[in-house]
């Protein structure tokens, strides 16, 4: 529970952060809210020799509507998403998922960029981004590139973000008035999800379904979507929730229990979001 020795540098700007990453190579790690990285360091599962702090860069803490989308700065706190009137109106699913993360202290420090790049399939916001077909904007030495959420999440704790890159923005569609639901099943009130389900009615009236903690990556439950598209009723469609997924087994439940929960929660969320009606 005591990290190995490391140096700390507060980046003065995004450019400075990129420069520091270039300078220190794989010895360096970006520090945002620190709520995933610091625990890993305390368990000595990570031992970067330099932390480059980007948590106080104003250019990463931006929120801009643009062209039917919202552009979220990676440095926004999860609490910002939870409380922002714009997010609550335009992408209420995201605000609801944000509100379910940990406790208030965690949400006040943890950033949306941190939760995305950490790549934990048990995290809530990544599954929502997969559901929303979000776009992730990365900046590296060679400039900017954009990836879809589906491309971005590679494996357990592994994303497409390079060691020399900074996630700068997350672009999500604005969907005011569209129906949605977020169901998070947990053992304790402020716990991680045993299983979570995000459902969003899309601009063309279909329903996208994403699952938390059902696979090594945030999971898109396409078989449910396909079933709905081909006219299945909610209970039948929800029965496909775990299809193709690979839920983990641990103290909170074995994979069969998680598969069952995914179906139960998907049925509930689809009903709330007006699917099949």
């Amino acid at each position: 529970m005591i990290p190995a020795e490391f140096d700390y540098v507060a980046a003065s700007s995004l450019e400075d952060a990129l420069r520091l990453l270039g300078e220190h190579g794989d010895e360096a790690k970006l520090l945002a809210g620190g709520h995933s990285l610091i625990p890993l360091m305390k368990f000595r599962l990570a031992a970067p020799s330099v932390l480059v702090d980007i948590s106080r860069l104003p250019e990463l803490r931006t929120l801009r509507p643009s062209d039917g989308h919202l552009r979220l700065g990676a440095g926004l706190r999860i609490r910002d998403l939870e409380l922002s009137p714009v997010v609550r109106e335009q992408v209420p699913l995201l605000a609801a998922a944000a509100a379910s993360v940990g406790d208030r202290q965690v949400r006040a420090r943890a950033t949306v960029g941190g939760t995305v790049v950490h790549g934990d399939p048990a995290a809530d916001i990544p599954a929502v981004l997969v559901t929303l077909d979000a776009t992730l904007v990365l900046r590296g030495p060679a400039g900017e590139r954009e990836l879809s959420a589906a491309e971005f999440f590679v494996d357990f704790w592994e994303t497409a973000c390079g060691l020399d890159e900074v996630l700068v923005e997350i672009v999500v569609p604005a969907l005011p008035g569209r129906r949605w639901a977020f169901e998070k099943f947990r053992q304790r009130s402020q716990d991680w999800a045993t299983v979570g389900v995000a459902v969003q009615e899309t601009a063309d009236g279909e329903h996208a379904v994403g699952l938390v903690n059902m696979a090594p990556v945030p999971w898109r439950a396409s078989p449910v979507e396909d079933a709905l598209r081909s006219g299945a009723a909610v209970p039948e469609a929800a029965g496909h929730a775990a299809e193709g997924a690979a839920p983990p087994s641990d103290l909170r439940g074995d994979s069969a229990y998680r598969a069952h929960l995914a179906q139960v929660l998907t049925a509930k969320a689809l009903t709330t979001a007006g699917a099949g009606s």
Partner: protein, 817 residues
């Protein structure tokens, strides 16, 4: 003058603690102090073939690295003779977390780095992670010099009650697993040791500084006056800080060698593998009963998991379980025995209730199972068995175990007054028929436990020098008062409660004029410590007696000053007056000052106002209560929600309703958490799966339901205060109230028993198994579903409701069969 005993008083200790001005071990900064860190085994059972400390020694700021070989002759910690645990493992490690080496460095971070740089080579030995493995044919003994892993094997009765069981109209059996828990005090373990010309001083987060002093004196060959142990503010202990830990000896020894103070504070992850665990009992019960559910005979066989090193108190805890296994009932006869077994896990010792919660759970589950077998109401079955008030004090079949005054039927009646039981039963029935609604269940727990630990002959058996407590009351020359007590609080609110007792006994001295001191062997007279709900019942009377003697002297001096007869002196708070003589008055401060002016005192009276006194209780006290829990169970997910928890407690005299409520609620929070969330889990390799608070599920504030707490006060005659103790009642009462409620909610499915903790996963698995059982029974016509779910008493199968191990060999949540 209104009595302070019984008054709701805000805790004197809170302003400092709530504003961050508490002073815990880690806040103690001694000049020149260095930090100690452990190299801990990450193997559950292995031979240590080599330890390379060279790299660690070379690191900056490192003062030294020591292995067992470097500390030859260092004493071991106290335990059952022949089973003493060495401070550092030498040739063999026996559980994950056992220290293999220690490092001292300039600060905590350097010490941690150095500890990480020590390389230990292990040669794995067969791991005995469970009591079944440890007791298996041919299992090698874990503790050297033992014939097997069964380190204690004791029948407590001569017969096995087979004749009585066979003669009973009905009999059934039950296997109960009381799971292993971690205490998780908010302040983990730690200590600071320092030597100077006066000897050794140890600041440690402990519940009993005097016994720690006594042990250290023996271990270091010092007279007791050259050892000072200080328990500063202590952030919770729950029994786990009553054990003696290797770090006490090691910090002292390193401090002696280095000539500098040495501090050790464990991290949370260390705490979860190093601090003693609790419970961890497997119980086999046979019970014989009549048509009304009268308990005619019971046979109890307990296996206590001791962990790798039997703890001095831990190994014998089943005796307390057996003594209390009849609960508040007249059980015809009980035959009982226990075995304590070593396993490759963290040692097990006292945890809030220490042996009695295991008994209360046992008997309260038995009563519910009996009710279920007979199709009777569990409340009725309780009623026919309860000991009646006219039978108190009630001598149980166990020599010396005599329940003091209480009124168990009244506790149950009072509980039912707060619960519309008939309406709840109707609602449960309606919900059963409506698949859209969650199931409802009601569970009861009528319990009795032990408090006021003493008297000396009993407490000696736990390794203490006695079972008494002590108090010194000194009135200063200005009339203010210092009370020094031998108990050592760690969250209970003693500074408030003892001041209340002293205030009354001193004739109404205001609370703000009284300070309570504790926890320092240099400034406190002899003491034993705080455990076993003993502070109020045992130390309270000592405070009362010493205060009373000070007051007698005050009255004598006042009478002398006022030239009146002592019988005519009246006290009104801080004034003495002569009855019937207006204007003849003197203040307490004037009287107190006079006590320090020998020339103004009555002829022959001694100087000063200070009295030390001891109190030895005549017996244990027996706090009791009747609790009920109403739960809702989600049909689809298995999630249990506690809708209501109602507690009626009899702790005898209530000193302070506010702190009493705090004690009950805190205990209930832990008890409900045992029922629903908490369990220390090891995998098949003896690796702890719950070694951080991500997986060891302590409840957060929102997870603790609202609780309704009530008291019925029946004073005990076993001590002059009439108080029985309350610290452990909640944790003793709650688990079975919750589990009985959940089993009740699922009973129509044929679920008869469930093992804690009742996580959603476990409850869902039990519901699914029950439904599959019903479906199978319905299709092959094997009879009514509930029977089909019942185990065959002849061959105890795994209890119902246990999840079946997943096929992929993942045994992280493995349960003892």
């Amino acid at each position: 003058m209104a009595s302070m005993v019984g008054a709701t008083v805000v805790r004197k200790e809170d302003p400092a603690l709530l504003t961050g001005r508490g002073r815990y071990v880690d806040d103690i900064q001694l000049p020149g102090a260095v930090s100690m860190a452990f190299v801990r085994s990450h193997q559950a059972h292995a031979r240590v073939t080599a330890i390379d400390t060279e790299a660690a020694r070379q690191l900056p700021g490192v003062l030294g690295v020591w292995t067992a070989a470097d500390l030859e002759g260092l004493p071991a910690t106290r335990s059952i003779p022949g089973m003493e645990r060495p401070c550092l493992a030498s040739d063999t490690v026996r559980f994950v977390g056992e220290p293999v080496a220690v490092v001292a460095a300039q600060d905590r971070y350097l010490a941690a780095d150095a500890a990480a740089a020590v390389v230990v080579d292990y040669e794995p030995l067969p791991v005995l992670a469970t009591i079944e493995q440890a007791m298996a044919e041919g299992a090698a003994p874990i503790v050297p010099g033992q014939a097997s892993n069964v380190v204690m094997d004791q029948p407590l009765t001569e017969g096995d009650a087979e004749a009585e069981l066979a003669a009973a109209p009905h009999r059934t059996s039950l296997r109960i697993r009381n799971q292993r828990l971690a205490a998780v005090p908010i302040e983990p373990g730690g200590c600071v040791a320092s030597w100077d010309s006066t000897g050794l001083t140890l600041y440690a987060t402990v519940q009993a500084p005097h016994p720690v002093r006594n042990e250290l004196a023996v271990m270091f060959g010092l007279p007791q006056h050259e050892v000072r142990v200080v328990a500063p503010d202590v952030g919770g202990g729950f029994g786990a800080k009553a054990s003696f830990y290797p770090e006490f000896i090691l910090t002292a020894e390193l401090s002696r060698r280095l000539g500098r103070p040495v501090k050790f504070v464990e991290t949370r992850s260390e705490n979860l593998v190093s601090m003693t665990h609790g419970r961890a009992q497997l119980q086999d019960i046979d019970v014989g009963f009549d048509d009304e559910g009268r308990l005619l005979a019971m046979r109890v066989a307990i296996v206590q998991d001791c962990g790798a090193w039997p703890d001095a108190t831990g190994a014998g805890l089943p005796t307390l379980t057996i003594f209390m296994s009849g609960g508040c009932y007249k059980v015809g006869t009980i035959a009982a025995s226990f075995r304590s077994v070593t396993t490759n896990t963290t040692p097990v010792a006292a945890y809030r209730g220490a042996g009695r919660p295991e008994a209360a759970y046992l008997i309260e589950r038995v009563v519910d199972v009996v009710a279920d077998e007979l199709g009777r109401d569990p409340v009725d079955v309780r009623r026919v068995n309860l000991i009646q008030p006219g039978e108190m004090p009630f001598a149980t079949q166990w020599p010396g175990i005599v329940y003091d005054e209480s009124d168990y039927p009244r506790l149950l009646d009072t509980l039912l007054e707060h619960l519309d039981y008939e309406a709840l039963k109707r609602e449960a029935e309606e919900r059963r028929r409506d698949p859209q609604r969650p199931l409802l269940g009601i569970g009861f727990s009528t319990f009795v436990e032990m408090g006021g630990f003493g008297p000396s002959p009993l407490f000696e058996q736990f390794g203490y020098i006695g079972g008494w407590e002590s108090s010194t009351v000194r009135m200063n020359p200005d009339g203010s008062v210092v009370v020094s007590v031998g108990t050592s609080p760690h969250g209970q609110g003693h500074e408030t409660a003892f001041a209340q007792i002293a205030s009354d006994a001193l004739g109404g001295i205001p609370m703000e004029r009284i300070t309570v001191r504790h926890g320092d062997t240099q400034t406190i007279q002899e003491g034993i410590g705080t455990m076993g709900s003993r502070a109020i019942p045992v130390c309270g009377p000592a405070v009362q007696r010493s205060s009373d003697k000070v007051r007698q002297k005050l009255l004598q001096i006042a009478a002398h000053l006022l030239e009146a007869s002592e019988d005519d002196i009246e006290q009104d708070g801080e004034r003495f007056a002569v009855r019937g003589t207006p204007g003849a008055e003197v203040t307490v401060a004037e009287v107190a000052l006079t006590a320090y002016k020998p020339h103004k005192l009555p002829e022959g009276m001694e100087i000063g106002l200070q009295v030390m006194d001891y109190y030895e209780p005549t017996n244990l006290s027996y706090p009791s209560g009747a609790h009920a829990c109403v739960v809702e169970v989600d049909r689809a997910t298995g999630q249990v929600s506690v809708l209501r928890y109602v507690a009626v407690d009899d702790c005898g005299t209530v000193i302070n309703p506010l702190t009493a409520r705090g004690q009950v609620e805190g205990g209930l929070a832990q008890g409900i958490a045992q029922a629903l969330l908490e369990e220390v889990v090891y995998d098949g390799e003896g690796q702890p799966v719950t070694s951080s608070l991500i997986d060891y599920q302590v409840p957060g504030a929102p997870d603790v339901p609202g609780m309704e707490t009530h008291h019925v006060e029946v004073r005990t005659s076993f001590n002059p205060l009439g108080a029985k103790g309350l610290g452990e009642s909640g944790a003793t009462a709650a688990p079975q109230a919750v589990v009985n409620a959940v089993v009740d909610a699922l009973s129509h499915l044929g679920v008869r028993d469930l093992d804690m903790p009742l996580t959603p996963f476990r409850v869902w698995t039990a519901m699914r198994a029950a439904e599959e059982g019903r479906a199978a029974a319905a299709s092959d016509g094997t009879g009514p579903p509930p029977e089909a779910m019942r185990p065959d008493p002849a061959a105890p199968p795994p209890p119902d409701g246990m999840p079946t191990p997943p096929a992929d060999g993942d045994d992280t949540w493995k349960v003892t069969p």
